[in-house]
Symmetry: C2
Subunit: 272 residues, 2 copies
């Protein structure tokens, strides 16, 4: 079995031994940011977009990456070559560092990990079920490590026989914890929330492709009930049709026409 | 120099080598809870209250402590004896554990650390300055490790020449990130917010002592302007008078009569 490596502050460490001191502000105070992108055949997918967002998130939390963009890219390239996991997910995490008083910001720790990953294309036809929950994520425009509510809700999701939770706040839909949300109206308009969300990279690609047709707008709980199709989009989930929300069917249990169309255009980019 | 130990899942580890794997859900997803209590002359202060809250927080986040209360107390006692830091702060942290997929809950990791700590009694006379900020903490009744907003605001606090931030939401004051907030009205009523806050142990002691006089009620930004005295209370800060909020003076730059009275009764308990 091949040894898989992670990178901690530039050092290659055997993955299942990679550790940091417990004085790190991620452990003490939940303070950190990250980004996550896929590789297909050892080629990073949409790397520039993910690095843009990674450096932006770091800056928004007053964290210094400690490497410039080219240095970080070289490090990622070295990891890809060393591990040789052609189809994978690579996660870059930047934490608040080893704080002397468990509160003040310190020199950030940069962690890079790689895990085998590829889509199960059957997921698309199976669709998913969502359950709504009223919650507004803090600092939603920054890709922080804060998934406290989402992980606490794992039990709630299970109890509601759903696959994931869909957040809303004051009757306005925002997003799922790890993906963006879209609906197709009865008039074949494709709509997605534009406020108080994380701007996903797959979402961005959909907006770019469909710039004439996809609108960023407020979506209410009522709008969902009237939707013809619904889907979510993310790096790990690609485009996935939503067949049910809060126990009510959307569409006829098969991927809708526009969802399929977008999946072919966007998903095709990443399935090869 | 004496070696200081931490405890990770029951094992005593040299403090500055204590580490956990980066697959832990605290690092990946900011998922964990903690509690913090002081020792004076090697005696834990208000230990039962802190353990009550620790087990409650763990349960609220679906985390299994893995030890019963007596086992945890024995472990704490062993740490106190081994380290012999008579006046200290002891922090017990419980994280989401080493997740296989970086998202699903795993077997929690239990971390116990001890650090020398004693109050600087001069702090009381110096008082502190607060700056307000609109923010409602998520899951405020649980002592989670989430201090994302508070640490991001360190720069904002400094820019506003303040010592700490005071959160409010929809014109109603809640708390500081690590302490509870109180005002004394012109009629000598002592008021403290009762909703959407963490129920601090020092706050509890104040309510218990002053049960006839201290009221839990909504406090607006306007109420602050009219206050005669204001103070904060926490395990690490004890009772500290607030001399200024958003640049406006409260009182005359000296600890007020009721604040001093409460400090003597409550602070005295912990200063010895």
């Amino acid at each position: 079995m091949t040894t898989i490596y992670s990178i901690i502050n530039g050092d290659f460490i055997v993955k299942n031994e990679a550790s940091i001191l417990i004085s790190d502000l991620s452990i003490q105070r939940g303070y950190g940011i990250f980004d996550y992108f896929r590789t297909i055949n050892n080629q990073p997918v949409f790397l520039e977009d993910h690095l843009d967002r990674f450096f932006y998130s770091a800056s928004e939390l007053n964290l210094n990456v400690g490497l410039d963009r080219d240095q970080l890219k070289r490090l990622i390239q070295q990891l890809i070559e060393k591990n040789n996991i052609p189809d994978s997910g690579i996660r870059i995490t930047l934490t608040g560092g080893y704080s002397e008083d468990d509160y003040s910001l310190a020199k950030p720790n940069l962690l890079i990990t790689q895990t085998a990953f590829s889509f199960n294309t059957e997921n698309f036809n199976n669709g998913i079920k969502l359950v709504t929950f009223e919650h507004q994520r803090q600092l939603p425009w920054i890709k922080t490590i804060d998934y406290l509510m989402a992980i606490r809700l794992q039990r709630f999701i299970k109890e509601n026989k759903a696959d994931d939770v869909l957040y809303y706040s004051q009757d306005t839909i925002t997003e799922c914890p790890r993906s963006n949300f879209f609906i197709v109206t009865q008039n074949d308009e494709v709509l997605t929330p534009g406020k108080n969300i994380l701007r996903g990279i797959t979402r961005k690609k959909i907006l770019d492709f469909y710039e004439l047709n996809v609108k960023e707008t407020n979506i209410s709980l009522k709008d969902i009930e009237n939707a013809k199709e619904a889907f979510i989009a993310s790096t790990t989930k690609n485009v996935l049709p939503v067949f049910e929300i809060d126990g009510k069917a959307i569409g006829d249990g098969k991927p809708g026409k526009l969802t399929s169309d977008i999946y072919k255009k966007i998903g095709g980019l990443k399935e090869q």
